[in-house]
């Protein structure tokens, strides 16, 4: 049973059944059936590649609608991702964005960038833990975590068991509210993450391992953007709200998380194909003497998310100037004796989901693999996608698994027709 709730969906009326998404899906989760794309929920990792690539905008991210969130609870707290700051031109100060969120109707703001600075401190401590498998893989990108669960069972133990900044920000928001508004119950509070990323929506809905997110709602940056532009136009001075420094803001771009470790033994890769290349090599045991691996599924890091407005490289350039005169960090734990607080850690990793497995029974799997190879040899090998599968190998697998019929291959059918015509021709002459 698949009980995982996804946040990438298809607008059937807009889909033309072209093969663009098919070709780009990193887990081969998409097939085109009856002229429209179908996403296999077992394989989808919510990376958002299809949303970004679809020429007809038929792929959508599902997330909470902002106006619904704002009328919902007594006390609404916005958790803006640092990527949000990179969306605005000539933004002199983060405070304008934070004030804007308050003016839109949020009751409080806790920056994820601030939480990220705590995570950076604790990551430095975490890396000193004895006996943990190195290199440690960042736990920040939910797409990477899901990719590892689906494809790299031996790398699970390398995942850093420290909660990502969004969760830490949610905890900070709850602690803050308990102090400032002790009369409020948990059910009066709505913690709303402002996200560049559909996979964060899934993370919040489904949890991770047995960890359940403290975030209540996720809205997209693109949804908040125009509302913010309107309220940010005013010329009143914002309150000095921001509590993040260079490190926190740098988390929005690839390499930002790593550079905060003050340790040169790291690797940072971005873009899902590059991520897979690194994971493959790591899985083969060919990456040595590294302490930390930062992987971001989106090109450029979170600034390249599928729910942002601005081109990731432009956003990155803006963040560079925004953090130019900020202190390196503004967040230090009260007592940092080199430990990691227990409530910042998560216990259980999700179990390995062998989605690629052909059959539960090994002998059966062998037979199927053998049949797949025979069929592959018959297929044209041009990976045209006309059958609805991303390539000939995937099509052969679909046929043997019973999910497609051989005659769906246009070229195979054509060859068969030519043969029949030739036979008839021979007969009549």
């Amino acid at each position: 049973m698949n009980t995982y709730e996804h946040s990438v969906s298809l607008d059937v009326s807009a889909c033309t059944g072209c093969t663009t998404c098919l070709k780009h899906c990193p887990t081969e989760a998409i097939r085109v059936c009856d002229g429209r794309a179908v996403i296999n929920p077992h394989r989808c990792i919510d990376c958002g590649v299809c949303i970004r690539i679809c020429p007809h905008n038929a792929k959508k991210a599902t997330y909470s609608k902002l106006d619904r969130v704002l009328e919902k609870k007594k006390w609404k707290i916005a958790l803006p991702a640092p990527t949000l700051y990179g969306q605005f031109e000539n933004l002199g100060d983060v405070d304008y964005v934070l004030q804007g969120l308050l003016d839109m109707g949020f009751d409080d703001v806790v920056e994820v960038a601030q939480a990220a600075e705590f995570v950076s401190v604790y990551t430095r401590n975490y890396l000193k833990t004895e006996g943990i498998p190195k290199p440690v893989i960042s736990s920040a990108c939910p797409v990477v975590l899901r990719m590892i669960a689906l494809r790299y069972p031996t790398l699970q133990t390398h995942i850093m068991q420290l909660l990502p900044p969004m969760e830490i920000a949610a905890k900070m928001a709850l602690e803050k509210t308990a102090k400032t508004h002790p009369e409020l119950k948990r059910s009066d509070i709505c913690i709303c993450f402002i996200s560049p990323c559909p996979a964060k929506v899934s993370y919040v809905r489904n949890g991770f391992g047995d960890y359940q997110s403290e975030v209540d709602e996720v809205v997209s940056i693109s949804d908040v953007y125009f509302g913010l532009l309107n309220v940010m136009r005013g010329d009143k001075m914002p309150k000095p709200l921001s509590r993040s420094g260079m490190i926190g803001i740098s988390w929005a771009t690839s390499g930002g998380e790593s550079s905060a470790l003050f340790n040169d033994k790291f690797l940072a890769a971005d873009g899902i194909e590059n991520v897979n290349r690194v994971l493959d090599q790591l899985d083969n045991g060919n990456i040595s003497s590294l302490e930390f691996i930062e992987l971001n599924a989106c090109p450029g890091g979170c600034v390249g998310g599928a729910m942002v407005v601005e081109n990731p490289f432009v956003a990155k350039a803006r963040l560079q100037s925004l953090r130019r005169y900020l202190p390196v960090s503004q967040n230090f734990p009260d007592d940092d004796s080199g430990y990691v607080p227990d409530d910042y850690l998560f216990e259980k990793l999700p179990s390995y989901m062998p989605i690629q497995r052909l059959s539960e029974n090994f002998a059966q799997s062998l037979r199927m693999m053998s049949d797949i190879q025979k069929l592959r040899a018959e297929l044209p090998g041009i990976d045209c996608g006309a059958c609805g599968a991303p390539n000939c190998r995937a099509f052969a697998e679909d046929v043997i698994r019973g999910n497609a019929v051989e005659s769906a291959c246009v070229l195979l059918k054509n060859r068969e027709l030519e043969r029949q015509i030739a036979e008839k021709g021979d007969g009549s002459s």
Binding site: N284, G285, P354, A363, Q373
Partner: protein
């Protein structure tokens, strides 16, 4: 009769940058067969080391992988210079790799020992000037 899946890979000796590709392909197929991740790791390491050896020392060759119900066999065949002293070659840290290869982090003399460590059985047939055939077996 039970099914055997046979995989064949040509290992290109000219292109050092592509070394290790066959190992990745094999791993994907083993995953589809639902083989235990620990076994997959063993096979892919043994396979990878073998591939690298063929590229560094023998100018390439080919790899045949046979998957039976109870075992996986890896046959690595090349027509390179052959191994002068197999016993010596099996020693950890012993390597005849040239300096340019060592500078890439290879040639630590762990290739053959690792192949032996990660497999249940390994045979080396080598003749000077003719080539080398390595047969490895991993029980399932």
């Amino acid at each position: 009769m039970s099914e055997v899946v046979k995989l064949h890979f040509d290992v290109d000796g000219e292109d050092f940058t592509s070394a290790g590709q066959a190992s990745v392909q094999v791993k994907k197929i083993l995953r589809q067969l639902g083989i235990n991740p620990e076994i997959i790791r063993k096979v892919s390491i043994a396979m990878y080391e073998g591939e690298i050896n063929m590229v560094i020392h023998a100018g390439g060759g080919y790899a045949d992988i046979l998957i039976y119900e109870d075992r996986i066999e890896i046959h690595l065949v090349d027509h390179g210079p052959g191994i002068a002293n197999v016993e010596m070659a099996m020693r950890e840290g012993w390597s005849t790799a040239p300096d340019n290869i060592r500078s890439l982090g290879f040639g630590a003399g762990m290739g053959l020992p690792n192949m032996k460590r990660y497999t249940d059985d390994m045979k080396i047939d080598s003749a000077l000037g003719e080539g080398t055939r390595i047969t490895m077996r991993i029980n399932l």
